[in-house]
């Protein structure tokens, strides 16, 4: 860990292609700020993204980035973490990537407790493809592919994560930057899978879910709210609609997936010898003998 990391270390010359007013600008700032708060240098993290406006995020900061394909950032991040648990692995992807096409990976990551941070840029619309309803769009949302209004009710990420076994579940709002910084840092500090669902306006294709819309609904959890209290979390997770709680809704200490993998007990396989005899002391001639 480098103590003297500053925001400047994360500066990168590429200008974002996001629309003015997009929530992604604040998310980008908060990702950088939380990494600085944690004292992590750019080479110590790997940001993995999928496809969508939000998934362009790693290109706009100085960091290791793997910009993958639609739906797969979570398993790509999982593989990187399993091969090198020393790396801070963070997914930045949208609601389509995370809850739609990649929804199965989301569910299994919750129970698996793989040590990645999953930041969902949840604007509740497909923005990059210019405005179709997404898995988190509200029922009745009129878009080009739902001219009569969408029929399905939305995915509920927080309760879904809770019942699926996630050990860190938080909700942030891109309009509340300071709180978002703290939530991101806490998520990256968490040992195990950490979901942060970020409510984020898409000013172009989902203007109904604007800053004003959310500002009226959201509130920060009380200071005396205890996220380790499962029953309280179950109650809080249900809250949606007229009042939307922000903050760490649930947190639990449970062994991570990677710390239980026998082959990782002596350190990351990515950094150790590729020669199996050097790596583990196995005698290959003896293994060969087992075929005789």
């Amino acid at each position: 860990m480098a103590e003297d990391v500053t925001l400047e270390d994360y500066e990168y010359p590429t200008d974002p292609t996001w629309c003015p007013g997009c929530g992604d600008f604040a998310i980008l700032r908060s990702v950088k700020a939380s990494l600085v708060d944690l004292g992590l240098a750019p080479h110590e993290s790997l940001l993995v993204s999928g496809i969508g406006c939000g998934s362009k995020l790693p290109h706009y900061m100085n960091v290791n980035g793997y910009h993958s394909i639609h739906g797969r950032p979570v398993p790509v991040a999982t593989g990187a973490k399993l091969a090198n648990p020393d790396m801070n692995v963070v997914v930045t992807a949208g609601d389509g990537d995370s809850y739609g096409i990649g929804g199965n990976h989301f569910l299994h990551s919750c129970r698996r407790n793989i040590g990645i941070t999953h930041i969902v840029e949840d604007n509740r619309v497909y923005g990059l493809t210019k405005g179709q309803y997404s898995p988190t769009s509200h029922k009745g949302f009129v878009t080009k592919t739902s001219p009569e209004g969408s029929i399905e009710p939305p995915v509920r990420p927080v309760p879904t994560a809770l019942t699926s076994g996630a050990t860190f579940i938080a909700r942030a709002f891109s309009g509340h930057v300071q709180e978002m910084n703290e939530i991101f840092a806490a998520a990256m500090n968490h040992d195990g899978y950490a979901l942060v669902d970020v409510l984020q306006p898409c000013v172009t294709f989902n203007p109904g879910k604007s800053y004003d819309f959310y500002t009226d609904l959201v509130y920060d959890l009380d200071e005396d709210y205890d996220p380790t209290d499962r029953e309280a979390a179950e109650e809080k997770a249900k809250e949606w609609g007229n009042r939307i709680p922000l903050g760490i809704i649930y947190r639990e200490d449970r062994p991570t997936y990677e710390e239980q993998v026998p082959a990782l007990q002596e350190g990351p396989v990515a950094n150790r010898s590729l020669d199996p005899e050097e790596r583990s002391g196995v005698d290959l001639e003896e293994v060969k003998g087992s075929f005789m």
Binding site: S68, G79, N104, K288
Partner: protein
């Protein structure tokens, strides 16, 4: 008396322990210095259905099973009906006392009917019906004179781990089976006898050879979703994962499996994915991602007949075309395909070096027949010397001394951009499945796009120059008749070639183990050196033949194709040669 040349088949229901008994018998034969070939034939079910294990034993090295049957162990009556046509005159059937065997039907065909009360022997001597297999194997020893001590050795080794009286009971059952046959004075014109020299031999199948080769080749990460017939690679590596420090991940889907492997490969592991055609189809988008982001990755694709679920436990070579073209757009990949157990080991060992040297996905294309068949192999052919080559991988020192910024996708003459593993403070970089510049940043620039496509595809030319091997020849250099093929039909074609040469028709056989990129010059030379070329493939259309035509312009109209889900026998190949029939 026929000595050390016979074909035995153990047939019964799934769940009767046929595969383990068959493999145990193969191991015993190998211990005796003989050369067995064992092939399993099973169905996609846990219990019931006709399953069998076929063993051919020879005093000389063999690479294939062949048609005809000399001894049938019929654990069910169905077994006889299923295999009656294969039994040759003078052969025999061992059947249980309470089975409703139509002895006359056998005798009319000059087949000996040997009643052996295998179930009662198992119950009386071993205390459990499940040992009927062991009684039958004991009976084989009695019929053929095969020294029972070789069976006993394997019983002790294979059942030792089960503890209790399992070993002792099985030994007693085998002995009783043998003695019963001897007491009856059954006559049988076949003999199996141990060779005087009994060099050590491995008994291994194609999937195990790939798995072991992968371990020797530095595989330290496996991400796979089970799919027949690939699963035994995953299982073998999982079994040895703790001892070898290999990360094993069985995730939620094939989509996850390949993506996890890509993540692992990106940060510097040597990942292996195992799957069959259906799973590979699901992986194709990510396969293109690996090609575009230049991520090293090995996929062992063990083919079974499609389309769709097809024949899930059977064999075919139907996926070559789809893998050559897999994923949208054009991205580099390599395809290597073992034809023998020795090549399967080599492929497992070598694939990871190729993947890292060329920074692309390498497919080891296997098929069910090679995957599941056992052969006795001389241990010298499995070189466990570890010799890892990671290609142009930059160390921290290299990166420190770089002039200027590190460029992940740098344009080079070879197309290979020196690679840095993320986590190094001198090389913080990005990559993406979007078209990108040398830095790994997204670009739409037409000139960079063209240069980047050229760079990625150039690696295949470099591979052709440096590493891709041409077809290997079996048989004389000059021949009237040349066979051309790949994968598991090797054994059958090789033996057909031996037979043809023996009968005065000069023949040879070229097989390709490096298929993509195609070593076109060498293939062309092989084809042009012969008057007549016949391609042999276990698929409907002749996928390799079509690919060769596309790459070389040479037409290959003569094809022996088989797509009934069953592997070739030498007789299948020979029976397709019209003129051969005339000669004989």
């Amino acid at each position: 008396m026929v000595k050390n040349d016979m074909k035995i088949l153990i047939g019964g229901d799934a769940g009767q322990g046929i595969q383990s008994t068959g493999k145990g018998f193969v191991q015993s034969l190998a211990r005796a210095g003989l050369f067995p070939f064992g092939r399993q034939d099973y169905r996609s079910r846990i219990r019931g259905g006709h399953n069998f294990f076929e063993i051919r034993v020879s005093g000389e090295e063999i690479y294939t099973h062949s048609s005809g049957l000399d001894l049938l162990i019929a654990l069910t009556e169905d077994s006889v009906d299923e295999h009656l046509e294969e039994l040759v005159p003078g052969s025999g059937v061992i059947y249980d006392e309470d089975s409703d065997m139509d002895v006359e039907k056998l005798e009319n065909r000059d087949i000996n009917a040997y009643q052996v009360p295998i179930t009662s022997i198992a119950t009386e001597e071993g205390g459990a019906k499940v040992m009927a297999n062991t009684a039958a194997i004991g009976a084989i020893s009695g019929l053929t004179g095969f020294d029972i001590s070789y069976l006993n050795e394997i019983i002790e080794e294979n059942f030792g781990v089960k503890g209790g009286n399992v070993v002792e009971n099985n030994l007693n059952v085998a002995k009783a089976g043998k003695e019963y046959v001897e007491s009856k004075g059954y006559e049988f014109d076949y003999e199996i006898s141990a060779r005087e020299d009994q060099p050590e031999r491995m008994v291994i199948n194609g999937n195990e050879a790939i798995a072991f080769g992968a371990a020797v080749g530095g595989c330290n990460f496996v991400s796979a979703y089970p799919m027949t017939p690939s699963t035994s690679i995953l299982e073998w590596l999982a079994k040895h994962s703790e001892e070898m420090d290999i990360v094993i991940k069985q995730p939620e889907s094939e989509l996850a499996a390949i993506s996890i492997a890509i993540g692992a490969g990106h940060v510097g592991a040597r990942p292996l994915v195992t799957t069959s055609g259906g799973g590979f189809s699901l992986m194709t988008e990510a396969f293109g991602l690996a090609g575009t982001t230049e991520t090293s990755l090995v996929i062992a694709e063990v083919q079974r007949p499609g389309p769709s679920t097809g024949l899930p436990t059977r064999t075919e070579q139907g996926d070559l075309s789809s893998i050559i073209h897999a994923s949208q757009g054009e991205s580099p990949r390599m395809i290597i395909s073992p034809a023998t157990i020795e090549e399967a080991f080599q492929a497992g060992k070598r694939a990871f070096d190729l993947a890292e040297e060329y920074q692309l996905p390498v497919v080891i294309l296997n098929d069910q027949h090679l995957a599941d068949s056992y052969r006795a192999v001389h241990p010298d052919r499995f070189d466990t010397e570890v010799d890892i080559d990671r290609g142009e991988l930059l160390t921290e020192e290299d990166l420190k001394e770089l002039d200027g910024e590190y460029l992940r996708h740098e344009f080079t003459d070879s197309g290979i951009s020196p690679r840095a593993v993320p986590g190094n403070k001198y090389a913080t970089y990005k990559t993406t499945g979007n078209e990108h510049d040398q830095n790994g940043d997204v670009t739409e620039d037409p000139e960079i796009r063209t240069k980047m496509m050229d760079k990625r595809m150039k690696k295949l030319d470099t591979a052709l120059e440096r590493d891709v091997e041409g077809p290997k020849r079996y048989g004389p250099e000059d021949a009237e008749l040349t066979f051309l093929g790949w994968g598991s039909p090797y054994g059958a074609v090789r033996e057909a070639v031996d037979k043809l040469n023996h009968d005065g028709i000069s023949s040879n056989f070229y097989h390709l183990h490096d298929i993509y990129p195609l070593p076109a010059e060498e293939v062309k030379n092989a084809i042009e050196s012969s008057e007549r070329v016949i391609v042999v493939e276990n698929n409907f259309s002749g996928q390799l033949a079509d690919f060769i035509t596309r790459e070389t312009g040479i037409q290959l109209p003569e094809r022996i194709l088989k797509y009934d889900g069953r592997p070739f026998t030498p007789e299948d190949v020979l029976s397709e040669l019209d003129d051969y029939e005339e000669v004989n």
